[in-house]
Amino acid sequence: MSTGRKVLALHLAVLAALALLQFALPPYHHTNVARIMVLAGYAIGYNVLLGYTGLMSLGHAMFFAAGMYGAGLPVYYFGVGAPAAFGLGVASGTALALLFGLMALRTSGPSFLIVSMMFGQALFLVTLYFNDVTLGDQGFILSGKLAPLELAGARLAFEAPAVKYNLALAIFAGCLLAALALRVSALGRVLIGIRENEERTRLLGYDSFRYKLLALAVSGTLAAAAGAGYALLFSYVGSTFASILFSIYPLLWTLLGGIGTVLGPLLGTALMFYLVDTVSGITSSYLLFVGAALIALVLWFPLGVLGTLRGRWLPWLP
């Protein structure tokens, strides 16, 4: 089997496993995994920028929030249907990413990190400032406003766990396959080149700014798709999701799972989710354990779980 087929088979197998998992999971974990899949879509988007292109952002919550508000506000105020709302959410994220990129990509390295954090905070403050519209950190709930999805004659209510799970899976699959396609494409090769040695890449014939802008647009679009999906599936929109904490999360998930690997963000999100879930059952200071886990990670597995696996045994893993 060629490497390309092996890679495709592996990723399709992961998606199939997630599809089958819903029949085996007890209700509590059923909802958890649905949440994990949507958040992993966010992490995959983040990884396109950090893992493939080498740009570290600390403001990615702005794209997640753009998707969330872009989808949630039209539903809440105008009763827009779910598919259109999802499209609006994704488009908001893409537009914001392009606008942000045109300004912020004049910087790189630590300056980019700081500029992204400033923009992220600015958007967070905007969601608080326009409290009348966004209802600030109290947020708003979409239940009762969101019409069930009409699909091939069937009415699919978003409250139904099976609908939630499978739509979450669809969003995750979209993000995963988009990231995989990008990674193995000619564009992906250019992004890796920029990550490894930007000046050399420019002298080999690539306008690195345009490629970084593209990576940012893809990254922001995937993050927004996750944000829009989260709002619609879990029926809540609030400022918390625009806060700095939600910019740090995808960084942690990506680092844990394996920076620059396609499947790493899923693994990292799942591990961190269940770490927090388990520990917060024991103590309220769960962040202490998250911190300890991260220190251990940086000390012994700086490449994350899949990055370490790839380095030792699976060099073909994308």
């Binding site: 494409s185 000619a186 564009l187 050399r200 002298l203 080999l204 014939g205 306008d207």
Partner: protein, 248 residues
Amino acid sequence: MAAVAPLLATQALSKYFGGLAAVRDVSLEVGQGEIRAIIGPNGAGKTTLVGMICGRHAPSAGTIRYEGRDVTRLRPWERLRLGIAYTFQVTSIFKGLTCYENVALPAQRALMRGLARRLAPGEAEVAARVRAALESVGLAELAGRRADELAYGHQRLLEIAMALATGPRLLILDEPTQGLAEGEIATLCELVRRIARQATVLLIEHNMQVVLALAGRVTVMEAGEILTEGTPAEIERHPEVQRAYLGR
């Protein structure tokens, strides 16, 4: 000399870093198919000069014409697409990637036209170009090895393979023999001669043996200016050159 327009012509090219003139009023003409060596002591402005030619540095004054058109304002990636390729003095390869990937990045450049080709530029075509480039420098066997695992001499050759994969018409080699062993230098000279059958070569070099063996003409720089220019034999005899550069 035949009255053909030169492939490359700089006109009064200068570069100032603050108050320091790294290159001053350099007018240089390089003909099609030539192997031109640029020699001169450290700090003479050789690397800065070729840096302006390939687009790494913007000139402070002067113009650069290439194949009859003014390329002074073009960005480095635009010049590469016109066929100007540069290899770094300090090896600048993608250390974390395999030799194959190092060469695939420049190899796919010419194939990326339109969105569909950007997403799928035809990996078979890319692979063929990569193989050709690696074979011409003798690294085909090491395609799967990570670049940072290569011996230094092989890293220099990989650097040249990357430039070759772009299909250059003007190849700028910045001290390619630096740090190489005697046997490797001979191999490299042979390689440069083969490259010169298809491309014009601009060679910055300290090793006079290499310069005398390869170059058709030699340009001598000192303190940012052209001191003199001529055939290797003329340059060897030139008293100023002997004083300034050969240290006799």
